[in-house]
């Protein structure tokens, strides 16, 4: 079962790498935010999987929980940036 979890975790890691593409090449900042949000969700899962691989899942849940609770704070703050009437392209498009 461990091997399965390992493979699974690796696959999710691969998906994270793909999401990272959006983070880095996302044409706008909002795309990057979306990418980071996706990565954050996957991180939560990955943390629990790591816990299972260590056979100490109870030690890792707290971290995952913290992520679940706090992950959207960053997204909210970045969204707030645009809500405060700052243009998407602040000075010039890059």
């Amino acid at each position: 079962m461990d091997d399965f979890f390992l493979g699974y975790a690796l696959f999710i890691g691969g998906l994270m790498a793909l999401s990272l593409y959006r983070c880095i090449y996302g044409p706008t900042v909002l795309d990057r935010i979306v990418g980071v949000n996706a990565i954050g969700t996957k991180t939560t899962v990955l943390l629990i999987l790591i816990g299972l691989l260590y056979h100490r899942v109870d030690m890792f849940i707290d971290i995952a929980l913290a992520y679940a609770l706090l992950n959207f704070l960053a997204v909210l703050a970045s969204a707030r940036y645009f809500q405060k009437r700052k243009g998407l392209y602040y000075e010039k498009p890059y």
Partner: protein, 279 residues
Amino acid sequence: MKILGLVIVALVGSVLIYATVDFPPFADPESPASLHVSPRYIEKSLDETAVPNVVTAVLADYRSFDTMFETTVIFAAGVACFLLLRIPRRRPPGPRHFRHRLTGLTFRVKDGENGKEIFLPLREFEPVDSVWTPHDFIIEKVCRYMIPFIQLFGLYVIAHGHHSPGGGFQGGVILGAAIILLSVSHNLRTALKRMREKTGALCSALGVFIFAGTGALCLALGYNYLDYRALAALLPGGPIMARSHGMLLVEIGVGVAVMGTMVWIFKNLASLGRYDEGL
């Protein structure tokens, strides 16, 4: 500059690589680092301090002096942000901008005569920031429901640092994040109403004081600084449990300090020290 950067990076990199050649292999259980000091921590900490989380035991007891200064660093950062950004003012400014809720027009209200604040009728007008943000009750509502849980979680993390990962710092950051979330989802004024500037600042100083004071208490009781065994005279459970409880006390101090400071720094950063409106 780029070339200089590359040269320096290359120099440093070569030194680092040079050193790495002689490192013990990665993850080697026989490396010197794993054999000299740390085994004792792992093997004895449960017996000596009754704390299964070795990291916490080392952090808050064996090397508690480090941790005290870590808290001090945070406190210093808070004071530094305050010192640099805060624009001192006799009276905090009242709401200056009001938005007519029906038409969506924003009015800027000056102070009346003798500097009295003017409030527009709150049913039709709402006080807003100078830069209007949509009154998004979805975010507000959800955050309101989440904040108590986040706070509880933060407290849980502080309290259970002995048994699971976590401790004062993590819990403190989570507690602080709860308040920051309140500020981000509503507005800074709401957060300020919940936690005044003075409270936050005092929290961050108080946390350091709790930590240092615990140590000083041990000193006063005739033991070495931060030697929690001294607390056995005040708490039930003998010297080993006294260590455990002393650690909890210290973790609470760290948590309080970190929470206060995080909120303090955020408020300063978000409002540029004006404390009227922010992110």
